[in-house]
Amino acid sequence: MANLPNNILYAALNQLSVGIIIIDEQQQIVFYNQWVSDHSGLSPMQQEGKSLGIVFPQYLGSRLSSACESALTLGLPSRLSNTFNPTPLPLYQKNFLGNDNHLIQQQISVKKIAIDSSTPLCQIVIDNVTHMVKKEQTLLKLADENKSQRHKAEVANKSKSQFLANMSHEIRTPINGVLGMLTLLNDTQLSQTQRHFSKLATVSAETLLHLINDILDFSKIEAGKLDIENVAFNLGDCIDETVQTMAIKAQMKDIEVIVDSTSLIDDSVIGDPSRLKQIISNLLSNAIKFTEKGEINIKIKTTEIDTTHLKLLVNVSDTGIGIPTQKCADLFDAFTQVDASTTREYGGTGLGLTIVRQLCQLMGGDIEVNSQQGQGSEFTFYLVLDKDTHITLPLPTFNEKPVLVIDSSVNNGEMVSRQLKLWGLNVELCSDNAEVKSLYGKIEKNNFSVLLLDATIDSLLLENILISLANANKSQLNKTQVIFLTTMNNDSANKSALLTSLMAKENMHRLTKPIVTKSLHRELTLTFSSENRKPELRSATKLFTSQTVAENDNEHVKILLVEDNRINQEVALGLLRKMGYKADVAKNGLHALELLGKRQFSKPYQLVLMDCQMPEMDGYQATVAIRSEDKYQLSRQINIIAMTANTMKGDQEKCLAAGMNDYLAKPINPSLLAEKIAFWLAH
């Protein structure tokens, strides 16, 4: 190596794709390679012996020259980075010599040549980093663009969600008008045809409202705007309520709905009850929609994940038309129903299941479907819920009393007897007509203390059982108590009459299907505890009219209705009239303040129903004025209920923050309105 001939070394140096300049102690050029002459325009070797500062005037006094100096005197090597020294020497791209737009971006190393020579030499190595500089500039530009795009997208998203909020208000207001008017119309004298038409109109308006809610939910989830609440609630109650509301529709189609919550271990949880209800009602309404006969089974199970978390597993299966297996996977995609004709026959947006799945996922779970065409469908979803620290006590158990369950539905019978066994009762189950006959003897011997009897069984059978019972009760002191399991919409007129007459008897009780744990327990407790109880007709559903019996003192005007929309005024007034209240109307916040001010000395208002969005002065401003301005001092404590179509999350907080006492979402639910008015008038 050391003996490599000079001509080879020269050739090699000249072929390098970096620039090399060698200078001596006086900073005079000793050598530069081909690369340097190519990019500087200096002819090869012509400048040898000349001072570098004369050849490149910008070298004088530059950082490069001081770097060379310390290399030559002290032997210190230097690195000149491109960022601090972009173009220390006038070097150009090959075809653009002398063009300052095409200067080469440089990165330079300076080092003493370490040989034992009398005169120290220094080498300057020049790297062309033009490409790298360009690349980094491009990247920087891209990063900037990316940032501004993201900013734009955020702004667009924000205005989209604002648009949604407005849409929600604008669309619900007229639907509220339509629904309200139809409610009033139904209460007037109508011919049968008119009643039919009005009913159809109501159904259509309700469907429309439902569709809009679905679309709004879907868009909110898509926009990431849907928040999951975290409140403490009772899991069993939440599910039971949902099932009971949905079951009416099922029973109208003669479909049995069975809730099995025997595997529900923990009741007190923290989560979003309204979204859980939404999931279950969506699945149930699908099941009811696509099932013609048979039953819908809901199985609920909780398992412990760790000390603070629970997994809720809910299984909803039906005996309906089912779904072809290969289509199951697409079921949860937006806007798909199994086929277009299904959509036409059964209606719906095709968004329901998409929303359900998204809600499950938002709550840390998922959903899956198992189905075959003609074999019914089975949906299973799970969620993760927080355990509530406050623990509900399990329902007390009963002494080992003998109980007979007769149910035409095997599943329902099994569920009920499983539940009863959990409570410590000795249960005999019978769901077969033939089997029942063998039991007459046992019934007559008064072997059972309670008989749970499905009211839908064959009438003849029913009569025979009742005869056996009558025989038993004649001879025995302790009569067998009977709990009839009836549907909500009562059966045929015949049976209904039979049941009504039976109910008059003291040992007869009644429980409405679907059977939910709590009411079953309550009924049993009552049955066991009151031998001589007066017969009492109970129904699971509270009737709207029972709560709103007009009282005499509702006559004088106590209520101020603040609402800008004329139709909504009519609707609300109509509903109030029906409940026996009279109300004054203010058309906006200012008007409301004026009326309140006038009336505060004689017969002041006791309640304000306040719309939120109104021209001139909105409901929030009006409320703040009532609560804070001296002019309304006497009315300052008046109860104010907000009525608004804004149902985006946060609206309720906004109302309460403005000083309102309560909140009602439009369209107004008449029974809820009655409840709230009664409550706030009493407070």
Binding site: L74, P77, L80, N82, L139
Partner: protein, 207 residues
Amino acid sequence: MQDNLTPLEIDALTEIFNIGIGRAAHSLNQMVSQTVDLTIPEIEILPNKEAKQKLDFDTEMEISAVTQRFSGDFQGQALLMFSKENGLQLVGLLLGNKIPIEDLSELEQDSLVEIGNVILNACFGTVINFLQSSISIEMPEFVQGNINKIFTYSSDNDWSLYIKVKFSLPSQQIAGHISFIMDITSLEVFQESVRKFVFGITNKAGS
């Protein structure tokens, strides 16, 4: 090690390194638009193991360092170290970047190498000028990683001349750490040079 440097000798060493680093500050000010002031508040000679603890870097912490090897009268490795954040901050400030950078690009990494090179060269220059030592120095390199990765070239038995450097910019103060890692023989030679130098000045002053 038989005898450590006396406080007087350490003082003298700090003084001459401050002169050297002053020159580095001058060079930096020429390179960048900012005014940078460099000072050395502290110099110590201590075993590598203690020097590492002195650095106050968590073992998992990312460190950006510029290193130059040296050989001759004494040999070893010089390191200028910053926490990764401080390194980024320094480059950002010196380049006048408005937006904070999350990682050094290749070119920015190179600018940190240049800054380190200027500062380490100032230290080498001091040693060569004042202590009359003959050493040859290699090109600077960039190293990044945790403290153990940075110190790979040396063992815990080696010694460090530990120098703390304070960068004072108009808006910010950034601390860097310099370590001249030498083996025990090199260290003895180095200390001898320091003693000679101090003896030289005290004698001159005395005569």
